[in-house]
């Protein structure tokens, strides 16, 4: 089992989620975050015209734990769907998972997903 964390553009969330379902990947969580990367921040405007540089941009983080066999397809799907080709498309990180438990039944491991 691996945990996939994908930080993507908020406007791509809907499409990405749907594409994952199409590939049989349902379970996931979404958190709204603000992120900083190569992409330069955004400028807000004050009332007397002053520039307020905001270095953090709104992004969404999708977190999904999947069986090892599904990692590749999940990563590919996310990349494909949420890519715009412009800086700021985001990152995917993959982490090891030691165990998973379904709260409702106590099932463990991949059965819990």
């Amino acid at each position: 089992m691996k945990k996939i964390e994908a930080i993507i553009r908020p406007e791509k969330l809907e499409a990405t989620k749907n594409a994952l379902v199409a590939k049989g990947i349902v379970g996931l969580n979404v958190v709204h975050v603000t992120g900083r990367g190569v992409q330069k921040g955004i400028v807000h405007t004050g009332r007397t015209g002053e520039r307020i540089e905001v270095d953090m941009l709104p992004k969404v983080k999708m977190e999904l734990v999947v069986a090892d066999a599904k990692v590749a397809v999940a990563v590919d799907t996310i990349c494909q769907v949420s890519r715009t080709g412009n800086i700021g498309d985001g990152k995917i990180f993959i982490y090891p998972v030691e165990d998973a438990i379904r709260v409702r039944t106590g099932e463990r491991g991949e059965a819990a997903l």
Partner: protein, 407 residues
């Protein structure tokens, strides 16, 4: 006694009452989330505080029997003799109606100053300051300009609904407050963005709505003069909103919503002293000039890091009120208000001189007395919360209540 006039002054009083909480939202939206509630509270509690101060001694000091042109006596303490019959200020409405209408002005004026304190003043010190300021600055100044026997009034200074008494006084008090309190932690280094501009617009809209009571109510009758003041008020506010928005657009590429809301308020400020003396076309001009003046002053002033007038009270009310008071001396015409006087453009340059005098007197008086009151309080009980409390935010540190909870 005239029931139409009475209805108009009563509803105007209600409209002006609403302006102070509206101001709380106007200001509250501009501060950071952690100070939202405390900022709204400052306006709300001033409504309560000055309502009581006014019926006890404030009204008597401001409008009571004159003592040497400088102050009213305490003869009307606790509204003694202020009853259902018309009083000396308005012949067709109950004396208490005039009193309560004026109460609302006495309330909003100190509340305006709170924008300069925002995000760092001790709640307790603020309460004490407000009572002292109302008593030592507002009440005397109101007497000078509006009280029977007041010396500026006797000189012929014209202030229809409070350019000097309300806006210059609060604006220059704000300047003093900004200087004495010093800047907020992180000011100029961290982005301090308004946490909710929608409620800034809500506040601005309710202020605009209430300002009809403020200015048109100041006619103290439901007549042609009230109507004229209503029209100039709306026109100046509208023009000023457009002007400020355009300035931000020209200078920065984007039309600011906060700017439009602020512009409307500055237009309302500037038309206040002129409302019942000028034509609608003069209101267009005033609504064009005032936001330019405020905008530029704020832009320059922002660089002066030492004075952190957090929500630009001085720039909006001090400058806007000054523009309005002087413009009254330029555009006033007896065609609109036969009981007024002509201004510069109508052949009476002297009026501009009188207006300028009233302006300077108000600047100096408000600034100096406020400065002294604040310095005394700073030395005795302290004005500013300590750094940790400021960083935590005033909602929790002063009131133990977050504005918004997660659940």
């Amino acid at each position: 006694m005239n029931s139409g006039d009475t209805a108009w002054v009563l509803i105007s009083s209600a409209l002006v009452l609403l302006m102070t909480p509206a101001l709380g939202f106007f200001y509250g939206g501009m501060v950071r989330r952690k100070n939202a509630l405390s900022t709204i509270m400052q306006s709300f509690i001033i409504v309560a505080l000055i309502s009581v101060q006014w019926v006890l001694w404030g009204y008597s000091l401001a409008f009571g029997p004159d003592i040497g042109g400088l102050i009213g006596s305490l003869g009307w303490f606790g509204l003694k003799g202020v009853g259902a019959e018309p009083g000396p200020y308005a012949a067709t409405i109950p004396h208490q109606a005039f009193m309560i209408f004026q109460a609302m002005f006495a309330i909003i004026t100190p509340a305006l100053i709170t924008g300069a304190f925002a995000e760092r003043i001790k709640f307790k010190s603020m309460l004490i300051f407000i009572v002292l300021w109302a008593t030592l600055v507002y009440d005397p100044l109101a007497h000078w300009v509006w009280g029977n026997g007041g010396w500026l009034r006797n000189l012929g200074a014209m202030d229809f609904a409070g350019g000097t008494v309300v806006h210059i006084s609060s604006g220059f008090a704000a300047l003093a407050a900004a200087l004495v309190l010093g800047p907020r932690v992180g000011r100029g280094k961290e982005p301090m963005e308004p946490h909710d501009i929608t409620i800034v617009v809500l506040g601005a809209a309710l202020l605009w709505f209430g300002w009809f009571g403020f200015n048109a109510g100041s006619a103290l009758a439901a007549d042609g003069l009230a109507t004229a003041a209503f029209v100039t008020t709306n026109t100046a506010a509208a023009m000023a909103a457009l002007t400020w928005m355009s300035l931000s657009w020209l200078l920065d590429g984007k039309p600011s919503v906060l700017g439009a809301a602020t512009g409307a308020v500055v237009g309302l400020v500037a038309i206040t002293p002129a409302a019942g003396f000028v034509t609608p076309m003069a209101a267009v001009i005033i609504g064009f000039i005032a936001p330019i003046a405020s905008f530029l002053v704020i832009r320059l002033f922002k660089k002066w890091q030492r004075a952190d007038d957090a929500l630009d009270v001085w720039g909006c009310h001090g400058i806007g009120g000054t523009v309005g008071a002087l413009a009254t001396g330029i555009f006033a015409t007896t065609l609109v208000n036969p009981a007024g006087a002509n201004g510069l453009f109508y052949g009476n340059p002297a009026q501009l001189g009188i207006q300028a005098l009233a302006v300077v007197v108000s600047w100096v008086f408000a600034f100096v007395v406020t400065f002294i009151i604040l310095k005394v309080l700073d030395v005795t009980i302290g004005l500013k919360v300590d750094k940790e409390q400021e960083v935590q935010g005033l909602d929790l540190s002063q009131h133990g209540e977050p504005a918004y909870s997660a659940d």
